[in-house]
């Protein structure tokens, strides 16, 4: 089970981020998670939203460059060492994590982390074997 992520190219100039969030807000797109990777000159805005296909077509229409990537939502126990446990399992299996970030809020003592890896199937299998739950788009209110 993967979740669709939208990655948008951000030029390093004032107002770029506000422009994007403004467009999403006007179109009633709700954000579930957000992360930014940056250099001094440009960045990548990564978004999980409730309606990825709507959001991406609106942003494309507005002239943004973006790409859609499948990512895995992982249920992490919201206690000390919760993330460490997950990461050590992944690391032992020698899966390379390209990047990760967290989803807003938590539920029933579980936080949700978004993981980007090259082989999403292998990651979900591994987590399954180790009794760690993956989070579906539905759980996050994504349709």
């Amino acid at each position: 089970m993967t979740i669709p992520q939208i990655s948008v190219f951000l030029e390093n100039k004032a107002g770029q981020l506000a422009d994007i969030t403004g467009i999403l807000s006007e179109n009633h797109v709700n954000m579930r998670a957000i992360s930014i990777a940056e250099t001094s000159d440009y960045g990548i805005l990564r978004l999980i939203v409730d309606d990825a296909s709507k959001a991406s077509s609106i942003l494309l229409e507005q002239g943004f460059i973006l790409t859609m990537t499948p990512v895995v939502g992982v249920a992490v126990s919201d206690t000390p060492g919760g993330l460490s446990k997950v990461l050590s399992i992944i690391s032992r299996a020698e899966i390379d994590v390209e990047y990760m970030y967290s989803v807003f809020g938590q539920k029933d003592g579980q936080a949700c982390m978004i993981f980007r890896v090259a082989d999403t199937d292998r990651l979900t299998e591994l987590l399954d074997e180790n009794g760690i739950g993956t989070i579906t788009g539905e759980t996050l209110g994504i349709h």
């Binding site: 992520q5 990655s7 190219f9 951000l10 030029e11 100039k13 770029q16 990777a37 940056e38 250099t39 000159d41 440009y42 960045g43 990548i44 990564r46 002239g63 943004f64 460059i65 973006l66 790409t67 990537t69 390209e98 990047y99 980007r116």
Partner: protein, 432 residues
């Protein structure tokens, strides 16, 4: 089957062309001597009289004219006909100083339009075609020149002028334009707009005639692919009448210079010495049929190569390469010659749009070169490492091409202003 607008002239043998040139040059030198005191003084300075010029072989003896002369002689100093015989002026954009004003008699306009008609027919144009001209009309020679040529060929002419892209596209679709005439940067912009609006299947274009600014082979390929047309280059400058001094044929390997009207030379831009055939140097034109504004040995500042290799199209007139840069637009950065077209070539090779801007500055007495490049969908990824890797590759290719380091700044798509006339490619902030 190759078609020609003026077959006997365009396919005349070398001897015939030389005979025309010899006769017309001698006559032209007399005309200028008699009517243009400014040039006569230049000849006298060199101890020349019209009798010293007996054939094209004596051409090298004549003094050059440059843009500085045109500015100095502004507006009437180089006029060779009384104003009552003139019917038109055209003018340069004047971006590099005072404007240049060129004058035309009706005969001059006719010959100029013939030259443009040759270009349109070489691009496949006939009286069945709909010729969409979106060069600027007015003082700029692009619109009036191609407009006149299109009339001569008998095409249905759409005098669109530049700007208002929505209207351009509407006419192009509704009136089924088949030949597009504009600057290459505007052609690329229109191609993008057509692509974005999903109009590719609704347009009937088969050929484009693009000139008035430098463009690379890669840009040609890009426009041809996006519009599904053949893109032909056309060359000219206001000083020599306008577009149509030279034009491309079906071979697309250089532009035939209309040698019955213009004698071309290649010189060393530093010494003024005439270079042997096949050398790369500055292009110099002598107009041998113009009446009102007959420039002799005008230095174009365009760097190119002439070739007399036999052309498969059957035309016999000498071919000039695409200008490889201008000896005056050329940037010297850290003592290295940089041509914007080199940067364009690298960008297109690496999948970036040809819409770019070069910013040159001098910081702490050292030149800096920055290239603003628009991000493209092909080069974007959700992985920052991938983008920085692509950026490093671009920097390395630019270094290999230019010989110096250029900082690359990736910017949002469409954030560099697209011009509907001549693109502003270079911003030089140095105060030298």
């Amino acid at each position: 089957m190759e078609r020609y607008y003026q077959k006997e002239i365009e396919t005349a043998d070398r001897e015939q062309i030389l005979a025309w040139q010899n006769e017309r040059l001698v006559k032209q030198v007399h005309h200028v001597w008699d009517n243009v005191p400014y040039y006569r003084a230049k000849m006298e300075e060199k101890g020349l009289t019209p009798e010293d010029i007996r054939s094209v072989e004596d051409l090298h003896k004549l003094p050059f004219l440059t843009k500085d002369d045109l500015r100095e002689a502004y507006p009437y100093g180089l006029l060779a006909k009384p104003l009552k015989d003139c019917v038109r002026i055209q003018s340069t954009s004047g971006t590099t100083g005072r404007r240049v004003v060129a004058f035309y008699t009706q005969h001059d306009v006719d010959l100029w339009e013939d030259c443009c008609a040759r270009a349109i027919v070489a691009a496949g144009g006939t009286n069945e075609d709909v010729c969409h001209v979106c060069y600027g009309y007015g003082l700029f020679t692009g619109g009036p020149g191609l407009n006149g040529g299109s009339h001569k060929v008998g095409c249905l002419t759409l005098p669109m002028s530049s700007g208002n892209t929505e209207r351009q596209l509407q006419f192009m679709v509704d009136l089924e334009a088949t030949i597009l005439c504009c600057t290459p940067s505007y052609a690329a912009y229109l191609a993008e707009s057509i692509h974005e609006r999903g109009l590719r299947d609704k347009i009937k274009l088969k050929a484009g005639i693009f000139g008035a600014e430098a463009w690379s082979e890669e840009m040609r390929q890009d426009i041809q692919d996006k519009l599904g047309i053949k893109a032909y280059d056309i060359y000219g400058l206001t000083e020599t009448s306008g577009p149509g001094v030279a034009f491309e044929c079906s071979e697309q390997t250089g532009m035939h210079i209309n040698e019955d009207h213009f004698i071309a030379e290649i010189i060393n831009p530093d010494t003024g010495e005439v270079l042997p055939e096949g050398s790369k140097g500055e292009l110099v034109f002598t107009a041998i049929t113009k009446e009102a504004f007959p420039l002799l040995r005008y230095r174009t500042r365009d760097i190119c190569i002439l070739s007399r290799k036999k052309c498969s199209c059957g035309r016999t007139h000498v071919k000039m390469s695409k200008p490889m840069g201008r000896s005056d637009d050329m940037l010297i950065v850290k003592g290295v010659n940089v041509f914007p077209s080199q940067i364009e070539t690298v960008l297109l090779e690496q999948g970036y749009p040809a819409n770019y801007q070069i910013v040159v500055d001098r910081i702490n007495n050292s030149d800096t070169l920055e290239v603003m490049v628009e991000m493209s969908p092909e080069n974007f990824s959700d992985n920052l490492g991938y983008i920085t890797k692509m950026e490093k590759e671009l920097v390395a290719s630019l270094k290999a091409m230019l010989g110096i380091y250029a900082k690359v700044r990736l910017v949002a798509p469409k954030s560099i202003a697209r011009s509907e006339g001549k693109a502003v490619r270079v911003i030089d902030k140095r105060k030298i």
